[in-house]
């Protein structure tokens, strides 16, 4: 993977991403980074912090039932290790309902968190979206369509999964352990960080897999 960084054109894509970030930082006065803790936002965080070390990092917590605290703590720890100083964690009380809580992120993030950030003067969001992930995302990037009130910028939009892993390994970035659990089973091209035991993801079959790979957390919500 490290070789890919040099021979697979990853270096060029990194420079392109840095250009996009540079332009956005000169264009917008108060940007933030949307940081899920996954591999894409880890790369994005590292790239943006090189140019703006004091940028606000916004993270959504899926609650103890859908994201075990061990992993959530690891995500926040990783952000600090990469250099984030101003980390803001948002969540919702609806997650206290347990694993049956549905569409909480969709309901709360775009209708409460983003308007709140907009009212505080934030005018740009760096998001680690990639075209390769899905047709929907590719169309959204091509149409330059932001989901909330705040304009989105996608610096790593043209990266492939190989570029992402190559960048992580090249820069020795920390990432959550769940990748090492799911990666060998699902494949390193398909592995993603999402909420676990989440009925909203039943349609794509991940709760079945979570029951086996995350069995330690199946019956607990806390630590």
């Amino acid at each position: 993977m490290k070789k890919w960084y040099n021979i697979g054109g990853c270096g060029i894509k990194v420079e392109q991403a840095k250009d996009i970030i540079r332009k956005a930082l000169s264009q917008y006065s108060k940007p933030y980074i949307a940081f899920s803790g996954g591999k894409d936002s880890t790369c994005l965080l590292h790239l943006v912090l090189q140019q703006k070390p004091d940028i606000t990092v916004v993270h959504w917590d899926f609650g103890p039932y859908k994201l075990p605290r061990v992993i959530e703590n690891q995500i926040l720890e990783n952000a600090k290790k990469i250099g984030a100083r101003d980390i803001r964690v948002y969540t919702s009380d609806e997650y206290q309902k347990g694993r049956n809580a549905s569409k909480v992120f969709e309901r709360n993030f775009f209708s409460k968190v983003i308007p709140e950030l907009a009212s505080q003067g934030y005018d740009c969001a760096f998001v680690g979206l990639r075209k390769e992930e899905s047709c929907g995302r590719e169309n959204r990037i091509d149409a330059n369509r932001s989901l909330g009130l705040i304009e989105e910028v996608w610096p790593i939009q043209d990266w492939t999964w190989r570029d992402v892993w190559a960048y992580i390994l090249e820069n020795n970035l920390p990432y959550p352990d769940t990748y090492n659990i799911y990666g060998p089973v699902l494949g390193w091209d398909r592995v993603r960080l999402a909420s676990f035991f989440d009925l909203d993801l039943e349609g794509v079959g991940t709760p079945e897999l979570d029951g086996i790979l995350m069995w330690k957390y199946k019956n607990i919500g806390g630590d």
């Binding site: 089973v185 349609g203 794509v204 079959g205 079945e208 086996i212 607990i220």
Partner: protein, 245 residues
């Protein structure tokens, strides 16, 4: 007559099973296809609970309330679990898969099929949600050739139930996972159903153990999907020592 009463009567009316004394033995299932799982372990007591209820209720088994546990209401008779019990746990191990090559995943798609449908007069069939929703199922499976359980129970009853009803192991057997080609039963000198050579063979509540290596919140009795049956247990496969009592 209410629902519970109906099933209790059915259990009372079921013909008696002749009981042999408890004896420890090992049962090996030779598989014709990989076993699909939803948890890392298949527990033999849950398997047997399913079979004995199927034998007792016959066709009514398929209309049992899905999310209501009726076992508390059933009478203690020859239709009870033919397994030795210590505290609240049965003497039945989790499956040991051979060879243990680790977990694999297969993606399968469940889609609305127009050829089987009488809904074609509808203008629109919603595939994104509702009854006809499409699913991309991830089927985690173990490509094992055999699954072995250690049991301490009434061998004749267990043998009869397995022979009559059990044709596959694990999840999604309707699409061909976990088919059983044949099975062997072998007597053992010792009872390896709970602890064997210092290793936990099933989830054991930590209160029953003097020492243990690893513990997690797991179900220790069937139904294993029910969160009410969970407690801090020694993880199968980890080192432990049982209390002398």
């Amino acid at each position: 007559m209410n629902e519970i009463e109906y099933y209790v009567n059915k259990a009372k009316e079921a013909p008696n099973l002749s009981w042999e004394p408890y004896s420890p033995f090992k049962i090996t299932f030779y598989l014709g296809s990989p076993v699909c799982l939803t948890t890392p372990w298949i527990m033999f007591d849950s398997l047997l609970g399913h079979l004995i209820l199927l034998d007792t209720m016959q066709e009514d088994f398929f209309v049992l309330p899905r999310k209501r546990n009726i076992s508390d209401f059933l009478p203690e008779n020859s239709r009870s679990m033919p397994l030795k019990k210590t505290g609240e746990i049965y003497h039945a191990s989790a499956a040991i898969f051979t060879p243990n090559n680790g977990l694999c995943v297969e993606q399968m798609y469940k889609r609305f099929e127009t050829i089987f449908s009488d809904k074609l007069h509808l203008k629109k069939v919603r595939l994104g949600s509702g009854h006809y929703r499409s699913y991309a199922l991830k089927e985690p499976y173990i490509p094992a050739k055999s699954a072995t359980f250690f049991v301490n129970g009434r061998k004749n009853v267990i043998l009869k139930l397995i022979d009559k009803y059990l044709f596959a192991l694990g999840n999604d057997i309707r699409i061909g996972w976990g088919m059983i080609r044949r099975f062997d039963i072998e007597d053992t000198d010792e009872d390896f159903s709970i602890v064997a050579n210092g290793l936990a063979m099933r989830p054991i509540p930590i209160e029953l153990c003097k020492e243990y290596e690893d513990a997690a919140v797991l179900a220790y009795k069937s139904p294993y999907w029910d969160p009410r049956n969970t407690t801090l247990c020694v993880v199968p496969g980890s080192r432990c020592k049982l209390n002398e009592r």
